[in-house]
């Protein structure tokens, strides 16, 4: 088999946004390996200037359709931090529930529609309808459940409308919450069914490892997606959210003009695997079982396992939400009237997006109009990690032939679940024709 390859994947499919892969290798020596992102830049940080603090969420939610709830939550937290606006415990819990609904939605979408077809060697979920109809139906059912859940709490599945600085525009009724809880309880067997499907094709997950630094939120005693401060596998203790720039350290490497992120190493990884590696011991009981069943343990360094970590997290959010709804119902849902007034300030907000830690930072004048903004997106933080994975992986598999290499690289990109459309605002790409 020849070990000269020339791969040029224009627009990797089944990822959100546009990304290209370029690999040139002649007679076993790799000349070029590049992960490029040619998405049209969208300039959010510039566009929000002059807008009211009340409208920031509406605008930046549109950065990404898949993690719109996360962007909304991060920006709203930033706005609230900047203005010293307090949120009730009830609203805080409801937001976490909203966040979890997006997790289930996004993870199921990624596992079921975008990544799993690879494990089956299919080009999309469509042929699977014929091949594994029950599995597809289960995935669809879970996805619908997650979307209905977002609809209930966020007002819609994409671009939430119930989230405002200070709290929520409205809460679901207690009856609606009870119904939701029932549905969550009923979906546990479905999650197990998905686990079985994943186990049945687990042999197709490439055995590749590259140990790196894993960055995520951390809050004592819990597996957090929403609260806490920043940590990493290389760092004891935590960094305050407002200091996120000392973590992200956007920099321009020698061989490229692209802005990458690094903290304690040349690159770091964010996302499900990073969260898992930082806080696996706090997963819900069922999620722990699932992790054991799929052979995922703390310290895992295989990026292809991100998809598996997402499955574990999906189980965790379902189990945790059932309990949170109990807590909300015990306290009783009380309507809240939200009145906020602006003041000058600058602060950051951070939550874990399904694909990794997300930072939003805003400055406001005293009328509450935005003066400046800075947004640092998980996919942007992962680009360098993807590049470094490529650099280690390609030589290891150079003998497998062009098609297999191409397939594995695409799978790797998809494993990161990149949200390219939202990361382009900070990426710099060299075009190779």
């Amino acid at each position: 088999m020849s070990n000269s390859v020339n791969i040029n994947v224009h627009h990797v499919t089944r990822v959100e946004g546009h990304g290209n892969i370029v690999v040139n290798a002649t007679n076993g020596s790799v000349e070029k390996i590049e992960w490029q992102v040619p998405e049209a830049p969208r300039f959010y940080e510039a566009m929000v200037r002059g807008q009211s603090y009340k409208d920031i969420q509406t605008i930046v939610s549109r950065i990404c359709g898949i993690c719109s709830i996360t962007h909304s939550l991060a920006s709203t937290k930033a706005v609230e931090n900047a203005m010293g606006i307090e949120v009730s415990e009830q609203a805080d819990k409801m937001r976490v529930l909203m966040h979890y609904s997006e997790y289930l939605q996004s993870h199921v979408l990624h596992i079921g529609y975008l990544a799993v077809p690879d494990f089956f060697g299919e080009k999309s979920v469509v042929p699977l309808v014929g091949k594994a109809p029950d599995a597809v139906k289960t995935v669809i059912k879970l996805h619908r459940l997650a979307n209905d859940w977002s609809d209930l709490i966020a007002g819609r599945t994409t671009h939430p409308v119930t989230l405002i600085p200070g709290g929520m525009t409205r809460f679901p009724t207690e009856q609606q919450l009870r119904d939701q809880q029932q549905k969550l309880k009923e979906c546990v067997p479905d999650l197990k069914a998905v686990l079985d499907v994943v186990l049945s094709v687990a042999g197709n997950i490439p055995a590749f490892e590259r140990e790196t630094e894993y960055v995520s939120l951390k809050k004592d005693g819990m597996y957090t997606f929403y609260h806490g401060e920043i940590t990493s596998t290389d760092y004891d203790g935590t960094v305050a959210i407002n200091d996120w720039k000392t973590v992200a350290n956007e920099w321009v490497p020698d061989q490229s003009t692209a802005k990458w992120c690094r903290w304690n190493r040349p690159s770091y990884m964010v996302g499900a695997l990073a969260r898992f590696n930082n806080q696996a011991e706090y997963l819900s009981p069922l999620a722990q079982d699932v992790a054991k069943a799929v052979g995922l343990a703390k310290g895992n360094a295989n990026p292809y396992m991100i998809t598996i970590a997402q499955l574990v997290e999906a189980v965790h959010v379902v189990e945790t939400s059932i309990q949170m709804i109990d807590e909300l119902l015990t306290a009783g849902i009380k309507p809240e009237k939200i009145v906020t007034s602006p003041r000058a300030g600058k602060a950051s907000g951070c939550v874990e997006a399904p694909r990794g830690i997300l930072f939003h930072e805003y400055e406001f004048d005293k009328a509450g109009k935005c003066v400046s903004a800075d947004i640092c997106i998980p996919t942007g933080q992962n680009h360098a990690s993807i590049q470094h994975d490529f650099e280690k992986l390609v030589p290891e598999i150079l003998d497998e032939g062009q098609d297999a290499i191409r397939q594995k690289l695409e799978m790797l990109v998809r494993a990161y679940d990149p949200c390219i459309s939202c990361s382009t605002h900070m990426l710099d790409v060299e075009f190779v024709q």
């Binding site: 830049p41 300039f43 510039a46 200037r49 549109r62 999309s124 996805h143 007002g155 409205r170």
Partner: protein
């Protein structure tokens, strides 16, 4: 009759409208029974140059995109603009309120001059090519989208309301948000979404675009009645209405 071939393309956007198609869940299978989806990058790896219906998501923000959309138009019998970015330019048009060079410098600093960062004034799809149907909204409403698709499969022009959001909002029995101090754009924005935002107690921010004859004078009067200032209204109208008629002065 052979099934129409549908291709989905995206330009500058958040891809949330495509996601709404994914979110149709079981209904996608119904859709697939009536039409062949031949290209849809977000969900499948196949690609094709032959299609009857092109569904376009996103706004046109770069010169090379203009060429691409014209190419798509020349191949498609029917072109559908999907979602606010495509139908009215969407949130991307906020950019047009600033000097473009300044926008680039604001975000990319010293790298602003790089060729791939070239950006042009944001355009809705119909500012570049002819659009046959529009599916309004940010994101699109799933029910409305499937209704429109079914109409097209039937060969019928979809009946989309031309009246404002207030009709659907009132019909849902909502208390008006103006009475709660919100600047809701419901009275001047096209209905069809089922008044989703006001029904969730969130002001309408105008993602479906203006009705044909928005009464901006009335809006000004109302601003006075509620003791708000006109700049607030202007700012709200800029969210999804930047560089579009009408503006308040």
């Amino acid at each position: 009759m052979s099934k129409p071939r549908i291709a989905v393309f995206d330009f500058a956007c958040c891809e949330g409208c495509q996601l709404q198609i994914v979110n149709l869940e079981e209904e996608i299978l119904d859709l697939l029974a009536g039409a062949d989806v031949v290209e849809w990058r977000e969900a499948m790896s196949e690609q094709s140059d032959e299609y009857d219906i092109a569904i376009i998501e996103g706004s046109i923000t770069r010169p090379e995109d203009e060429a691409r959309i014209k190419e798509i138009r020349s191949r498609a019998k029917v072109l559908i603009a999907l979602g606010a970015c495509a139908t009215i330019g969407g949130i991307n048009k906020l950019k047009n309120n600033f000097d473009l060079d300044e926008v680039k410098t604001c975000v990319y600093g010293a790298d602003a001059g790089k060729p791939h960062l070239a950006t042009a004034m944001t355009k809705a799809v119909d500012e570049v090519v002819t659009v046959d149907f529009k599916v309004e909204g940010c994101p699109i409403d799933r029910k409305e989208f499937t209704y429109i698709v079914r109409c097209l499969l039937l060969g019928k022009t979809p009946e989309i309301p031309v009246y404002p959001v207030c009709v659907e909002c009132k019909a849902n029995g909502n208390p008006c948000l103006w009475d709660q101090g919100e600047v809701c754009l419901g009275p001047i924005i096209k209905a069809g979404c089922g008044a989703r935002c006001p029904s969730n107690s969130h002001r309408c921010f105008g993602c479906r675009g203006y009705v044909d004859n928005p009464n901006v004078n009335a809006a000004k009067d109302v601003i006075e009645k509620y003791n708000l200032d006109i700049d607030t209204l202007k700012l709200k109208m800029s969210l999804f209405g930047s560089q579009q008629e009408p503006t308040v002065s």
